[in-house]
Symmetry: C2
């Protein structure tokens, strides 16, 4: 699978609150499907479908223990997603916003100018 497709699958898997809750549960140890389903109001097959989404994204893997098929969390896709987001760290840490504020202050002479700051292109 290409990196882009993996990111597609990872972010799509993380876009559902049920699946994020399942990952949170798995963060402190593997768990059976029944255990994972317990906190939710939905049916067991619905949970199995969510697990399939997580598994196809590589976020969890499946073990075996008698009739049980315990899931465990896998770190790699989370690492890749985090890595992708890191690209934007300088943005979300506010450097750009501060630059904009600086530019705004430098042209505080002209009143009533509601056009945005020119480009911000570095």
């Amino acid at each position: 699978m290409r990196r882009s497709d993996r990111l597609d699958a990872t972010f799509a898997a993380l876009a559902d609150p049920t699946r994020r809750a399942i990952l949170a549960r798995l963060a402190n140890g593997e768990a059976s499907v029944t255990d994972l389903a317990k906190p939710f109001k939905m049916s067991q097959p619905a949970i199995s479908k969510h697990l399939r989404v997580l598994e196809r994204a590589g976020l969890i893997s499946r073990g075996r223990d008698a009739q049980r098929r315990p899931r465990r969390i896998e770190g790699k896709p989370l690492a890749e997603a985090t890595g992708w987001l890191e690209q934007y760290r300088r943005i979300w840490e506010g450097n750009f916003q501060r630059l904009d504020e600086l530019l705004d202050e430098l042209k505080i002479q002209q009143p009533n100018d509601d056009t945005p700051t020119p480009t911000g292109d570095d």
Copy 2:
């Protein structure tokens, strides 16, 4: 909007490669819709739809410059998503995997045992 809903919207927005490419483009400065559409084979309305998704997730905002409606990237949702993923840092940095490997080595006596390591629960 609740935090969970914001994460839903953010991750869903990031799950599409076109939208990720748009964000990458906006990372080095604001751009008009036409400019943003240029690299893609799809129609302008398709791009506008993607922009709407990004905007509703708060990942971009809309300026105005004559007929143009330049988009700029917004950092907060990216920060929030990154923050959520940070929860799992100890997992995706491999600590758990190394623990598993250790446990595997400790019971390397029994041959042909394909059951997974017991719990991993901390």
